[in-house]
């Protein structure tokens, strides 16, 4: 059987899609809307610091965020390529997956800084 990288990218895209579909609605609602706008009382700092400082939270968030970034990169690659007809196959792929790769380091750094 031939080896191609596309099936692996698609698997990562699918995994990230599931993660985003299941985790992001509640995270976005709570942390981007409900707490800043006072719809719900923001949790006190000590409690939240304890939650994000826990190694399990770190692992779950890091895994989920990286998968979501790959998902977004893969999807946006096709949006550029087909939707907007940017017909530079290699360049588009490099920019999109490169962005996700960079995001992985940012995630590692920022999540690590809170533990």
């Amino acid at each position: 059987m031939k080896f191609r990288v596309e099936p692996f990218l698609w698997l990562a895209f699918s995994g990230g899609g599931v993660m985003a579909a299941i985790f992001l609605p509640v995270l976005a609602f709570l942390f981007a809307l409900a707490f800043p706008l006072g719809w719900l009382d923001p949790p006190d700092h000590a409690h939240l610091a304890a939650v994000v400082g826990h190694p399990i939270t770190f692992l779950v968030l890091f895994g989920a965020f990286v998968m979501m970034l790959v998902h977004a990169a893969h999807r946006f690659r096709f949006t550029l390529y087909d939707g907007l007809q940017v017909k530079h196959r290699f360049l588009v792929a490099a920019v999109c997956y490169g962005g996700a790769f960079l995001g992985t380091f940012v995630a590692l750094h920022m999540l690590g800084s809170a533990t």
């Binding site: 939240l48 999807r75 939707g83």
Partner: protein, 139 residues
């Protein structure tokens, strides 16, 4: 027929009339438009990941940084962005769940699980995860 041959109209040597889709082909049909909006959710998912990372960083930096971050997050332009982003995430979730049964055939006891059951199970998972996150954060 190859990509190079996709000229707009017939030439003297080739009498076939070839049509190329315009750049805004996706505005021509509602279903194409919803498709492109679904694909654009990727940008907002990437933004929300970045936003949540900034949130975590602020929490890690201490109580003042956390309070400052909440103030910043309540600024009008950011609220608008986050409302739009949330709407796109909902679009992603709904379309992702509804398309899963087409991509996956599950067999239980030699019988194919009906699409409705697969969609329902995903919403159940969404509810459980959402309830858990809410409990974990606000307890």
């Amino acid at each position: 027929m190859t990509g190079e041959a996709m000229e707009r109209s017939a030439t003297d040597t080739d009498l076939h009339y070839r049509r190329t889709p315009p750049v805004f082909w996706w505005t021509r049909k509602p279903s194409y438009f919803v498709f492109v909006m679904r694909e654009l959710s990727s940008l907002f998912i990437a933004w929300l990941v970045l936003y949540l990372l900034l949130f975590v960083r602020a929490v890690g930096r201490g109580e003042t940084a956390y309070a400052d971050f909440l103030d910043w997050a309540a600024s009008p332009w950011l609220v608008v962005l986050n409302v739009v982003a949330f709407a796109f995430v909902v679009l992603h979730t709904v379309t992702w769940f509804s398309l899963t049964p087409q991509a996956m055939v599950l067999q239980v006891g030699g019988r194919r699980v009906p699409p409705r059951a697969i969609i329902g199970a995903q919403y159940a998972a969404l509810a459980v995860v959402s309830a858990f996150v809410l409990w974990l954060v606000t307890r």
